[in-house]
């Protein structure tokens, strides 16, 4: 529908995210993280006794809120979502890379105790030294692995 700009500027999106973080702490003493929502949603699906149900609603909310932003913005379109990765390799190879990457990412998030939002924004905003260390580490690691990918593909990716 293009009611929204093609891309909301960082100086609007960033503070908006920051206010959401403060809001969830003020309401429920909880971080606006994402990896924990996966854990709780998986527990709910397995009917695990120790499940925090509202985190599953939160999980659904992220999907729904994203869908609303896209309908109002650049639109929803069926595609692979990984154009440059698929162009560089092929669809099957790109699928394997994404799958393996996501498993490693999930494992690492649970091990570190948070992800980009949990440690990267909520933990750092709580002035947690562990979160600052985890965030600096995954930033450095992400940049380093991206650089290695570039080297391996002769700078194409």
């Amino acid at each position: 529908m293009n009611v929204l700009p093609d891309r909301l500027a960082w100086y609007i999106a960033g503070p908006a995210l920051g206010l959401l973080v403060v809001g969830l702490f003020l309401i429920a003493n909880q971080p606006l993280g994402a990896s924990g929502a996966y854990v709780q949603t998986a527990r709910l699906m397995r009917r695990h006794a120790d499940t925090v149900r509202w985190r599953a609603w939160y999980f659904v909310g992220i999907f729904a809120g994203g869908a609303v932003a896209l309908v109002l913005g650049t639109g929803i379109e069926v595609r692979s979502g990984y154009d440059s990765l698929v162009d560089q390799f092929s669809l099957p190879v790109a699928t394997v890379i994404v799958f393996v990457g996501a498993i490693v990412m999930g494992y690492g998030a649970r091990m570190a105790g948070g992800c980009t939002s949990g440690h990267g924004i909520c933990g750092t905003a709580q002035r947690s030294a562990a979160s600052w260390v985890a965030t600096a580490t995954f930033m450095a690691s992400g940049v380093a692995v991206t650089f290695l990918l570039r080297l391996a593909t002769g700078g194409d990716l």
Partner: protein, 156 residues
């Protein structure tokens, strides 16, 4: 009580997803370009989010604010340990390969990207593999936590 928390969870999730989608953080290209240092918008976005929330939370903590549902505001601060670093290295490597992270992957799926299904499945598997190993109640500062002050969080 639990119903109200469900609604709050849904609304905060929706707000989060909306911002991610509007800022295009769900796109592989956005994350890849950021990690390639082609553009700095995502770093600036995260910095602006921290610059907004950190001082506010600090001030709210100092004045002893009370939360709506969970007693006094309690921020969580841990000392860095080995698992933060090892987990961070793994997370960053996966982030670079998959070009998305847990919340944006859900928005990516909403945007119609087929491979987001693969990313989300991988995330569930990876998180579960580790969760199975550390089934004791260990929570990182960025994760959902159980609070003694509010037993409603322990079980739904």
């Amino acid at each position: 009580m639990n119903r109200r928390l469900d609604v709050i969870g849904l609304l905060f999730g929706a707000g989060f997803g909306f911002v991610l989608g509007a800022a295009r953080l769900h796109e592989y290209e956005t994350i890849h370009r950021m990690l390639r240092f082609d553009e700095f918008d995502v770093f600036l976005l995260m910095g602006a989010a921290i610059a907004t929330s950190l001082p506010l939370l600090w001030w709210l903590e100092r004045r002893g604010s009370t939360t709506m549902f969970a007693g006094p505001l309690r921020l969580s601060r841990s000392k860095p340990q080995r698992h933060h670093v090892v987990g961070g290295v793994l997370f960053g490597a996966g982030w670079a390969l998959a070009g998305t992270c847990p919340a944006p992957a859900l928005v990516m799926l909403a945007s119609g990207a087929g491979l987001a299904v693969v990313a989300i499945a991988g995330l569930f598997i990876g998180l579960h593999l580790r969760d199975r190993q550390v089934h004791t109640v260990t929570h990182g500062d960025g994760e959902h936590r159980e609070l003694e002050t509010q037993p409603v969080f322990a079980k739904s």
